[in-house]
């Protein structure tokens, strides 16, 4: 079990861990922004936007994440878009997760009573103001539980990036295995690191849920 502290392995492990955290955080920000935007599109009165969001979700939610990584890593250079492996990974992970964020949020929007939006509109708020000021905050609160599942899955999904030239935690496992260390010891430390990341995300969401709840 002491392999982590031999031969400068710790530096490798630490860098991989930080890369995973960076990758997850960047993808989470993208997923959240894009997911909220897609959810707004899905409930918008403009048919073109609704269709766009629906098609987006059907594509990204129904495609294996590995295929998305392939598409971004090898597809974009073909149309002369050259991005670093890290940015490619953020795009694939962010766009994929955004589709889940959108659908969770949309189910939350459906729990907000229609009267809330009617009251906002009757005060002269525009569609966008009604959504941002009144509907989405309440929808978000209603779906904190399922939303935490989406964001706990994200760092674990990020392991796929290791196969696409991002030196993150999972790729550290490959390197260490190749150096001939006992595979179970390597996996133990890697799994523990992922557990730390996931547990931190879960803890964050639990804290949000336990904020003074706003009952109706």
């Amino acid at each position: 079990m002491g392999i982590l502290f031999e031969d400068g392995n710790f530096g490798l492990f630490r860098d991989g861990f930080l890369r995973t955290v960076e990758l997850s955080a960047a993808s989470a920000v993208l997923a959240l922004l894009l997911g909220v935007l897609l959810a707004a599109f899905r409930v918008s009165p403009v048919p073109v936007l609704r269709t766009f969001a629906t098609v987006w979700i059907e594509i990204f939610r129904n495609t294996p994440l590995t295929l998305l990584f392939f598409a971004v890593t090898f597809g974009l250079p073909r149309v002369d878009v050259h991005l670093s492996a890290f940015v490619c990974a953020v795009l694939a992970l962010g766009c994929y997760t955004a589709s889940f964020v959108c659908e969770v949020l949309r189910s939350g929007i459906n729990t907000v009573p229609l009267g809330q939006a009617e009251a906002a509109r009757s005060l002269g708020m525009t569609f966008g103001q009604t959504l941002v000021q009144v509907v989405l905050p309440q929808a978000g609160r209603a779906v904190l539980g399922p939303m935490s599942s989406v964001f706990i899955a994200l760092p674990r999904n990020s392991a796929i990036a290791g196969a696409f030239n991002v030196a993150e935690l999972y790729s550290v496992q490959q390197t260490l295995s190749e150096r001939g260390y006992a595979i179970f010891a390597v996996f133990f430390w890697i799994a523990l690191a992922y557990l730390c990341v996931s547990a931190t995300v879960a803890l964050g969401f639990r804290r949000l849920e336990h904020r003074p709840a706003v009952a109706r």
Partner: protein, 253 residues
Amino acid sequence: MTETADSGPRALVELAGVNKHFGALHVLQDINLTITQGEVVVVIGPSGSGKSTLCRTINRLETIDGGSITIDGRPLPAEGRELARLRAEVGMVFQSFNLFAHKTVLENVVLAQVKVRRTEPAVAEAKARALLERVGVAAQADKYPAQLSGGQQQRVAIARALAMDPKVLLFDEPTSALDPEMITEVLDVMRGLAAEGMTMVVVTHEMGFARSAANRVLFMADGRIVEENTPEAFFTNPRSDRAKDFLSKILHH
């Protein structure tokens, strides 16, 4: 601003030949109605008569299939920024209060002032506190709606509507979801507004309020305005059989 005093009362809300269907149901049939500035119009009638729908068409929460609606001389615009601007001029108080559940009482009254009217937050807050004082819930300013009684919530809702300085206030059964002892506190606020000259359209089952505060009573049945009269004349001497039947059912029990 000089209002021409000699031109008589100004027509604020005008409905002409308004028709609306919900599927096969013809909920509003050829409604013609003019509400002048400062007038308090109470709409009564059996449930399903279209009175709530009528109220909601005035700020286009319900669209209409035919006819026209004008607010202060301007036709009701289609969905969009123009409509939003007009809705800010037409206050609405709902049966189920519809206070923003995630905002405090004070924030409820401040929000639209800042977002729609672009009022400075400090100015909006001062105005909100003054309005909450006026409807008697100033002490609850920092609570959330769920922590208030129904009567308090409805008074906050009235303050929220008043914060926009509306030209006309629409009340859609404002006391129907309230316990009896809370009805009075809401009606007292509404009587106060009426006395100050606020133009009001009130859909209600409160006949006492209709008698004491209304300038005019509309009796609706089956999507039509069946009878229109002063409260005194309507309650003592209803002309139509529908109105007689309705009044006999609600006044003697």
